[in-house]
């Protein structure tokens, strides 16, 4: 390998937006998706999703708290990240980040606080000493859990959850917008981009919750609510169809228009992205789960719960891979095309580098660790049992 040292000629060799920039939309997508699932119960009052309503909120929070990590790791000067909050430059779409992220964070924390307030008060009064302290602080000194107070809480929760849906959609749609608005890159520049990002975010959120819910049930030795899984499988199938249709529509449009961009996008898809786009995103991640979910939804009444659980579980894993592949193909694919659109470049992610595969895996593991602690502090499933005691 010959060294390419200086900058005298636009050599356009390095792919600057690494796996970290793939992780970022992936994680924010899970944030938005998990929140949408929580709203099935908290806004649309669908009783079958009650078992995961609270858990979905905690999942969304755990991922939200880690959403900025890949970006911070990517930045050469992470401490300057705050500048985007302090002096946002509104002629850049990036300025929206601070506002969208914080406002969604506030809405989410408030909603979680209210949803869990009864439990918080319960723990604050039953636990002793140091263990009670965090809960005491969280009560804000108000121990009022009378029916009236809870009723007021419910009203506010509905309002917050309702505000939360557009906030979550904006937070993630904005990520898609960042790519969709790069007009120099024909693989990104499409108004469909925010919508594709959003739909695939919902897919990944539902898939993640199906997986986590079933795993939690196994570890806690409880039943998996079939109504819940059945409902989630339906939504998952629906959103998957939407997502893949949109993804294909974009490509069909590009291909049909046959403008100069297709000259480079066609070879991109059939050479450098052949594996990650055709094999992973379209076949393994779209076609197979489509069939699995079709069986789950259409043959529902013939399915044994174990079969239903396994089908949705497996489809969910494939869909999580699909969404990751989609982020990869957008972020990395868009950069594999040289900026001159004259040809394709190579991308070889390293394993141990600062922005390598290992840091990406660690960053992705972190929200799960966080979620573990959140679930310890605010048990989302044990509502009935705790409150009965």
């Amino acid at each position: 390998m010959l060294p390419y040292l200086q900058y005298t000629f636009p050599n356009d060799i390095h792919i600057h937006w690494s796996i970290m920039i793939v992780m970022y939309p992936y994680i924010t997508g899970l944030v938005a998706g998990a929140f949408i699932v929580s709203s099935f119960y908290h806004v649309f009052q669908k009783k079958e999703y009650q078992p995961i309503g609270r858990f979905a909120l905690l999942t969304s929070l755990a991922f939200l708290l880690c959403a900025t990590l890949p970006l911070l790791n990517h930045l050469g000067h992470p401490e300057r990240a705050l500048n985007i909050m302090i002096t946002p430059n509104f002629s850049s779409a990036m300025a929206g980040f601070g506002i969208l992220y914080t406002s969604y964070l506030v809405v989410l924390i408030l909603e979680i606080w209210l949803v869990f307030r009864k439990d918080i008060v319960h723990f604050a009064t039953t636990y002793k000493g140091i263990r009670a302290l965090p809960y005491r602080i969280l009560t804000l000194g108000v121990y009022d859990v009378s029916d009236e107070a809870i009723k007021t809480d419910h009203k506010v929760i509905t309002i917050l959850a309702t505000i939360g849906i557009p906030s979550a959609c904006l937070l993630h749609g904005y990520v898609g917008f960042l790519f969709g608005a790069v007009k120099a890159n024909p693989w990104w520049s499409t108004p469909l981009m925010p919508i594709i990002f959003l739909f695939s975010a919902v897919v990944s959120g539902i898939a993640l919750l199906i997986i986590l819910y079933q795993l939690m049930a196994i570890f806690r030795g409880t039943e998996v609510s079939q109504d819940c899984v059945r409902g989630l499988a339906r939504w998952l199938w629906y959103f998957q169809i939407q997502t893949v249709t949109l993804e294909l529509l974009e490509i069909i449009t590009l291909s049909y228009e046959r403008n100069e961009a297709w000259e480079i996008i066609a070879p991109l898809l059939t050479t450098k992205l052949a594996f990650s786009f055709i094999s992973v995103q379209m076949v393994l991640g779209s076609l197979i789960p489509f069939i699995l979910l079709m069986v789950t939804v259409l043959l529902d009444k013939y399915l044994h719960p174990k079969v239903r659980n396994s089908l949705t579980f497996f489809a969910s894993i494939l869909l999580l891979i699909q969404v990751f592949a989609m982020r990869w193909n957008v972020v990395i694919g868009g950069q594999i095309m040289s900026k001159s659109l004259r040809g394709l470049r190579d991308f070889h992610p390293e394993f141990l580098a600062k922005e390598g595969i290992l840091p990406a895996m660690l960053i992705f593991a972190l929200p799960f660790v966080l979620l573990y602690f959140l679930v310890k502090v605010l048990p989302p499933f044990e509502k009935e049992r705790q409150l009965a005691s």
Partner: protein
């Protein structure tokens, strides 16, 4: 809704208000004084940039003392390639304490920077697959200074 049943909400609202207030206080403290003076940046930065020492010389600043090389280069295919791109900045060479040695890079890594075959470059730009170019001419790429055995760097297509 009985009165007094939303005390916790009021407290939360006060807390949120305090946090927002705190943000604006901290923000006011963190924004540099000269920010926004001329535009969306720190005004003082202009003066800071302007006071940085000059490193590179004018592209024809070498001509003064190296008239011979300068003329060769102007007549050849590297006419447009600045001397300092291949050697080093002027200030490293000509200092107040006299003339310091100027680096000469002789390996093909120098030429690779600009001539390595890359899809991203315009087809009209001369670029080569090093291996093919050298080996097809019965030469050995192990010799790091191989390019110079056929090309004169200051006039690469001229007589060596």
């Amino acid at each position: 809704m009985g009165k007094g049943h939303h005390r916790h909400l009021i407290r939360a609202a006060i807390l949120l208000g305090a946090a927002i207030f705190l943000f604006f206080v901290v923000r006011a403290l963190l924004i540099p004084k000269s920010f926004g003076l001329y535009g969306h940046f720190r005004g003082e930065n202009l003066a800071e940039q302007a006071s940085l020492p000059i490193v590179h010389g004018n592209p024809n600043s070498c001509a003064e003392c190296h008239d011979d090389v300068w003329k060769i280069k102007l007549a050849g295919r590297h006419a447009a390639v600045p001397c300092q791109d291949c050697h080093a900045p002027l200030t490293q060479h000509v200092t107040e304490d006299g003339v310091q040695p100027m680096p000469i890079h002789k390996t093909f890594a120098l030429c690779a920077r600009c001539h390595q075959k890359l899809e991203a470059k315009p087809k009209t730009f001369p670029q080569i697959d090093f291996h093919e170019h050298v080996v097809s001419k019965d030469k050995n790429l192990e010799n790091e200074e191989i390019c110079l055995s056929c090309h004169q760097p200051h006039s690469p297509m001229g007589e060596k």
